[in-house]
């Protein structure tokens, strides 16, 4: 059981097809349980009222927006170092999922910010760095789409991902310097004084677990699609040669 076995697309497909139903079901159960618990069975916040409940969508999607990029970084490294073909495709498959997660985080944040801060958007460091992350995702996806040769595309995008990660972290701290924020600190951290109240944190953890599983399921599914798409391309090329 090592990731190198799954450089063989056939083996990867076989295993991922076995795992995927469990992932879909458990992520659906966890997300719906977390959301129902969070929306209907938690008290209203004494200052924010019921608007606080958007946290159950906002925090997990923001978490996955960052972790999706991190996963792409690791997958790109694996591709650059060992030319693990499935890894490159998994990085490609994760990018659109990451974009959608970033968008969900930005949009739910705007909907939450309107009643609480009185504005849909502020050039707050956290908001701004998410917007920059969104731009990085767009560039990454656009580069994948622009190049025909899959190996060249995988090489170039993985180097872009490595360089982009450094600059994304730099931007994160640069915007901190540039403007003071409206956004609160971490909702869940080891420093317990800052955390949200227990009544909110338990359903939040459930939602976060659900989003992690959903992300895994989506990435496996999309990677499988990429593998099949390449297989079809190869078959069609072979047919054209024979004809």
């Amino acid at each position: 059981m090592s990731i190198w076995e799954y450089a063989n697309p056939k083996k990867f497909l076989a295993t991922s097809e076995k795992v995927m139903p469990a992932l879909w079901v458990s992520s659906a159960v966890l997300i719906s349980a977390g959301l129902i618990w969070g929306f209907f069975f938690t008290p209203d916040d004494y200052r924010q009222g019921s608007t606080v409940k958007i946290i159950f969508l906002h925090v997990p999607s923001a978490l996955m927006a960052i972790n999706a990029w991190f996963m792409m970084l690791v997958a790109s490294l694996i591709w650059v170092i060992r030319r693990h073909h499935v890894s490159a495709l998994a990085a490609r498959a994760a990018a659109p999922v990451g974009v959608v997660m970033t968008l969900i985080a930005l949009i739910t944040g705007a909907i939450w910010g309107q009643p609480m801060w009185g504005t849909w958007w502020a050039w707050d460091p956290r908001l701004t760095s998410f917007l920059v992350l969104f731009l990085f995702y767009l560039g990454y996806i656009a580069l994948w789409e622009a190049i025909d040769n899959p190996d060249t595309a995988a090489d170039l995008t993985s180097i872009l991902c490595l360089v982009g990660s450094v600059f994304a972290v730099l931007s994160r701290y640069a915007v901190n310097f540039w403007n003071q924020g409206l956004h609160q600190g971490a909702s869940l951290s080891l420093d317990e004084k800052e955390n949200v109240h227990d009544a909110f944190s338990s359903p939040l953890y459930v939602c976060m677990a659900g989003f992690v599983l959903l992300f895994l399921a989506l990435v496996l599914y999309r990677t499988g699609t990429e593998i099949r798409a390449r297989r079809i391309k190869a078959l069609m090329a072979r047919e054209r040669l024979e004809a």
């Binding site: 920059v132 731009l135 060249t152 090489d155 170039l156 600059f167 931007s171 640069a174 915007v175 540039w178």
Partner: protein, 218 residues
Amino acid sequence: MIALLLRDLKLAFRAGGGFGLGLAFFLIVTVMVPFSVGPQSELLARIAPGVLWLGALLACLLSLDRLLALDWEDGSLDLLATAPLPLESTVTIKALAHWITTGLPLIMAAPVLGVLLNLPVQGFQWLVISLLLGTPALSVIGTFGAALTVGLKRGGLLMSLLVMPLYVPTLIFGSEVARRGAEGMAVQTPLLLLAGISAASIALLPFASAAVLRVNLR
């Protein structure tokens, strides 16, 4: 290395090299700003450092697609790649040539355009210093973007999409230096951070650019 630098500079300065286009673009962007935001001098003075930085950044960006594309088209890039000079040095020299032909004229023009935008007197030196420290980073980062998109037919727009997010930290610190300078505040912290970004980009990015170029030339 010096021969390559001289060749790139000659190609840029002679007819058809496009030297001065970036400068003209910088001028036109700066001149358009009062038309769009209005001629009130206090407002212009407030936004002048940021506008000048953004204009310089866009002028750098626009001249990037000529940086490697012409050499790619006539095949001289393949020759350079097989030459004894390591590709890392080649891209560094290319970035240096880009900086001399684009960045340096921009820095010299910036004070003049600062007058147009009513930049406060104490802001001029910091504007020039911030551009002097920041534009090398813009050239090096841009070379990376140009190397990424060199083989593509419609690489120009894609390159802007790729390079702009990478410019974010440089732009933040650079215009912060210029803004603080214009308002007479202490500039040391952003100035040091800007210098750090430039130094790190110049030291590390040529390796990434060369790696990308090797992939594209394969």
